[in-house]
Amino acid sequence: MASSLTASLNPASSPDMAKRAELSAIDASTRAPALYFLGSSVLWLLVGTLFALIASYKLHTPEFLGDVEWLTFGRARTLHLNAVIYGWASNAAFAVALWLMARLARAELRHVGLLFIAAAFWNLGVTVGMVGIAIGDSTSIEWLEFPTYATPILFVAYALVGAWAMITFRFGRAKHIYVSQWYLLAALFWFPWLYSVAQIMLLFEPTRGTVQGLVNWWFAHNVLGLWFTPIGLAAIYYFLPKVLGKPVHSYYLSVLGFWSLAIFYNWAGVHHLIGGPVPVWVQTAGIAASFMMVVPVIVTGLNQHLTLVGAAAALKYSPTLRFIVFGGVNYTLTSIAGSLMAMRSWAEITHFTHYTVAHAHHGMYAFFTMVMFGSVYYILPRILLKEWPSAKLISLHFWATAGGITLYVIAMSVAGIAQGLAMNTLPAGADGQPGSPVAFMVIVADMIKYLEIRTIAGVIISIGHIAFAVNFTWMLVQPRKAGATEPTLFRNAPDLEAAR
């Protein structure tokens, strides 16, 4: 165990030199496109964070930048969402996916030019879309705000990545299809389907009335469930055993987790319309599917937990592991919370409130984004053949983001419950009959303190992002040191010290 831990933490100490050389050649072949995607993702992360802070501040101090039309709340919030979803998260997902695909197929990257064009198109599309939102061309359809002149550009980029992934998979040398590859293939196939159907049925040839709501949430929930979640789980399934130097606990649990996710997640999106003007049977189907999501979540969580058991001490040393495990634990938590939110009685309270906002950030940030951070900490040294310049900055990054998002999710969940109870239940009246509802302005005033806590949490998270960006840039520009092959860990593992 000790030697394998050392081996996995430090790529230079692997005994199997031939295998290492092969991996190293594969890693090197991914360098240019992976760096393009990762560099863009970090830039978009900073842009998205800035808009997040502006939007958050405006929601408790509405006069702030009140006369700047392109930064009015409805646009600043939208710019935040699209910058982090399509700019940060998707770029990071592409980088992690292509790196994992190449490694798992044991194939050096072919057609790097294709990926380069894809990355250029993707970022062009995101830029055009962001400008479109700022000048008032947003579609105001949640998660699909980019105007119609931006989305075809994104689609071209995605088609190129998808085609590339198929080629890599087809020409891979690996005999076995690893669990991460199932998720990656599924994600790369599902997203363009979702995206094109949503575009056509909502923007180019709008479907009738509230079917639009169904299409909207079929898409938006599945972006999380069938694009980001599979990429995040693929990364966990790869890095967790890799860093720990032991196999995934159970192959059969992996299979069960994958197929139950594929079948149930699909239908869950309708829970965003519970109590709304859409057929009740679809709502009921959505609720059932949401509840069935407990199966893949528990199975996957259990599988990962049992993989970690007995090796948890490595959390003290490995930045990758710490981010990934934080993300994995929050995947379980947010998914369970999500299943409960689909219950009609709980949705009556939490729907239309900050509780949903907390839940969205719990999934998209505490799970997915943290897993992406962990992946970047593993991938970048291997494609650049340099180590992270500062362990202190990694530590700051971890504690600021983990602490900040925890504060965020708790504060907004509490806010949402308070808001939902006041908004949707009648207080007892004088004569034992239900009284009149709490005045809306009273609820608004009651929310201010939570919204201020959210801004504080946002500032803390931003500090983490700045630490990450500084470390990332520093790593890019620092010269490669000859012979320096020690990994940057939070502290040196005992067996590493012994080896010295």
């Binding site: 006069e63 579609t139 079917v211 079948i263 302005m441 005033a445």
Partner: protein, 232 residues
């Protein structure tokens, strides 16, 4: 799981299943939702928005109003929408059939707007919206809605004052400098037209027969229930 074609088929059918179930079936079944002709009024409901209101809906879109305001009233007994006066009945699918884009919304930082046109009516309603857009604090102290002063223009009076000047409707501290006037831009006019037009009609007979209504309350819109149902 080493057979790539099988994995791919599974992946394909998983999404095809939900697309068929959630979207295609409803896309097809919604075709039977048609406007209902009301003989006493001689009109078919729901009605289409007038042109200036449709333009106002574009302003509603570009400013992102949907992120804080829903446009769906929950059914009686689920939440307190009816008690809050957000509508006389819950919203039904038929209400939205003319809409090129539906803004159901998912967040209620502000109140539901599905029937805001029933709460703020006529010239008084227009004046309220003017004050509220210029600075929400005028009408709703403590609101977290941002001001929308960019829907107004403060300009020097050249010759005759504009008939569209609105400063007379604003409190003293908002008055422009001498020789200036505040006018509502065309976008502001359109947006207010949209909000004044935004309301749903009384419940259609078919939905009235089907929707659950708590027993304690008298049936909503009794005058409608007696009418013959329009042929779809």
């Amino acid at each position: 799981m080493n057979r790539a074609p099988l994995i791919f088929l599974g992946i394909f059918f998983a999404l095809a299943f939900s697309w068929t179930g959630i979207i295609l079936t409803n896309h097809l079944s919604y075709a039977k939702l048609q406007p209902v002709f009301d003989e006493t009024e001689g009109k078919a409901f729901p009605q289409k928005l007038p042109g200036n209101a449709e333009r106002g809906k574009e302003v509603y879109r570009d400013l992102g109003c949907v992120y804080c305001h829903t446009q769906q009233v929950r059914q009686p007994g689920y939440g307190t929408d009816i008690e809050r006066g957000w509508g006389e009945r819950g919203s039904v699918a038929r209400d939205y059939i003319h809409e090129k884009r539906v803004y159901l919304g998912t967040m209620r930082t502000g109140p539901d707007l599905r029937n805001v046109g029933a709460r703020f009516v006529g010239d008084a309603g227009r004046d309220w919206h003017i004050q509220h857009f210029y600075d929400p604090q005028i009408t709703s102290k403590g609101s977290v809605m941002p001001p929308f002063r960019f829907l107004f223009e403060t300009r020097a009076v050249i010759g005759e004052p504009s008939p569209r000047a609105v400063q007379a409707k604003l409190p003293p501290q908002y008055q422009p400098p001498a020789g200036h006037e505040i006018v509502l831009t065309q976008r502001g006019e359109d947006l207010i037209s949209y909000l004044l037009a935004l309301k749903d009609p009384a419940l259609y007979p078919e939905e009235a027969a089907r929707l659950y209504v708590p027993k304690a309350e008298p049936a909503k819109a009794p005058d409608q229930s007696a009418q013959p149902e329009a042929a779809p």
